[in-house]
Amino acid sequence: MSSGDLEGVKMTMQAGDFASTIDHTYLKIHRSDAEVKRLCFEAAKHHFASVAVFPVAVPLAASMLKGTDVEVCVALGFHLGAYPPELKAFETEDAIKRGATEVDLVMNVAAAKAGQWDLLKEEFRLFRDAAGDAIAKIILETCLLTDDEKRKACEIAVEARLDYVKTSTGYKDGATVPDVKLMYDTVSPDLKVKASGGIRTLDDALAMIDAGASRLGTSAGVALIEAFNERFG
């Protein structure tokens, strides 16, 4: 996509609005506190929406981000999501207890593939209950689903009153514009959409926003905001 297609985005969006779409993400195997700290400094400096880490790094991120406007986002169920709803609910409560304010959970993808919709309803319901006031985002892993399966999972997420449907873990193929549009059309205005996985360039990011994403999960946040300022600043 050329930047010319994104004139509408350019006209309406300020740098601050753009920064507040970014979940500054670090979901490789966690190897050092320094990496988590760097992420937190960068997120605070640029006023990103959140820092997204694994549960083991939540206490550090929470203490670093205290007093900033950056949320503590935790990645749950990574990256296979293949265990029972009760364990996912426990994992959600555990992460919130440690300081997470936003929870991104990998759904039971197999249940969607097999049409076990009641199982998915149960999972989303327990996830909502366990998340409480925290922002609850359910990860569909769209690259593994048919359009009908994506739509159905989105409808169940609306029923369960989750906050976001999210495309991908980043461990397989990532977000696509058609998927984000499909999800936005299915859940809007009740829920929002988070695009994640493979968002490397400003054009990627703006295309996702244009397609309906309110949040972007990416590890390229700093480069993206710099590119935004360079192009529109």
Partner: protein
């Protein structure tokens, strides 16, 4: 030690665990897997936590063991969550559980915390055998040594070298750990075992078991 190079596929199978672990594995896939794998006496069938019960049911009277996984494959979960997953596996009929570790602690030299986590997991496991995953592919030799020591101190006697999903085990890692710890630690190899030659090499180097999602080429059976 047997001359592994001479073993027939059916004689190698008891050294091999075969796995069906992925996000989109359905109940139907598990049923086909159990059926297909009944052809050989594998060491175990490895499935995700939510399929332990189904697998046990499908195995019927067979005494085939079930392996499952915790915090897998990235190791980012807290000890409390790992312990809850381990307790679930224990209560639903798994034989052993492969647990990814907190690599943040290993990489920052916090082996006291590593040991404490292992102790809690072993406590939660009861009769379930705990297999910790040091992820040798991302560790230095010194980190491998210290991790194995912490595991032994915490009450875990079996390791699975890597989680797979792109992390590969080198035969040098098996030889190194075997040389340092002898029979005190049982070594299971996972990650990058694709052919019968790989299998023979790893077992001859001292591995007790191999994990694979492609068992037929690993056994040398077409």
């Amino acid at each position: 030690m047997p001359d592994f190079g001479r073993l027939k596929p059916e004689e190698l199978a008891p050294y091999v665990s075969t796995s069906m672990i992925e996000a989109d594995v359905t109940e139907k896939d598990i049923a086909e897997f159990v059926e297909e794998m009944s052809r050989f006496e594998f060491a175990s069938l490895a499935v995700d936590l939510h399929y332990i019960e189904l697998t046990r049911e499908l195995l019927g009277d067979s005494e085939r063991r079930i392996t499952t996984v915790s915090s897998y494959p990235l190791g980012g979960m807290t000890t409390d969550v790992k312990a809850a997953q381990v307790a679930y596996a224990r209560d639903h009929g798994a034989y052993d559980i492969d647990v990814s570790m907190n690599y943040l602690w290993i990489k920052s030299g916090r082996f006291d915390l590593v040991e404490e986590e292992v102790r809690r997991i072993v406590d939660a496991a009861g009769d379930l055998v705990v297999v910790m995953i040091p992820q040798t592919a991302i560790l230095t030799n010194e980190e491998k040594r210290q991790t194995c020591e912490a595991l032994l101190n915490g009450g875990c006697k079996t390791i699975k070298t890597c989680s797979g999903f792109g992390w590969k085990t080198e035969v040098e890692d098996v030889i190194y750990i075997k040389r340092l710890f002898g029979d005190a630690i049982e070594i299971e190899v996972s990650g990058g075992v694709r052919t019968r030659d790989d299998t023979v090499t790893m077992l001859s180097a001292g591995a007790a078991r191999l994990h694979t999602s492609t068992p037929l080429p690993v056994l040398g059976a077409a």
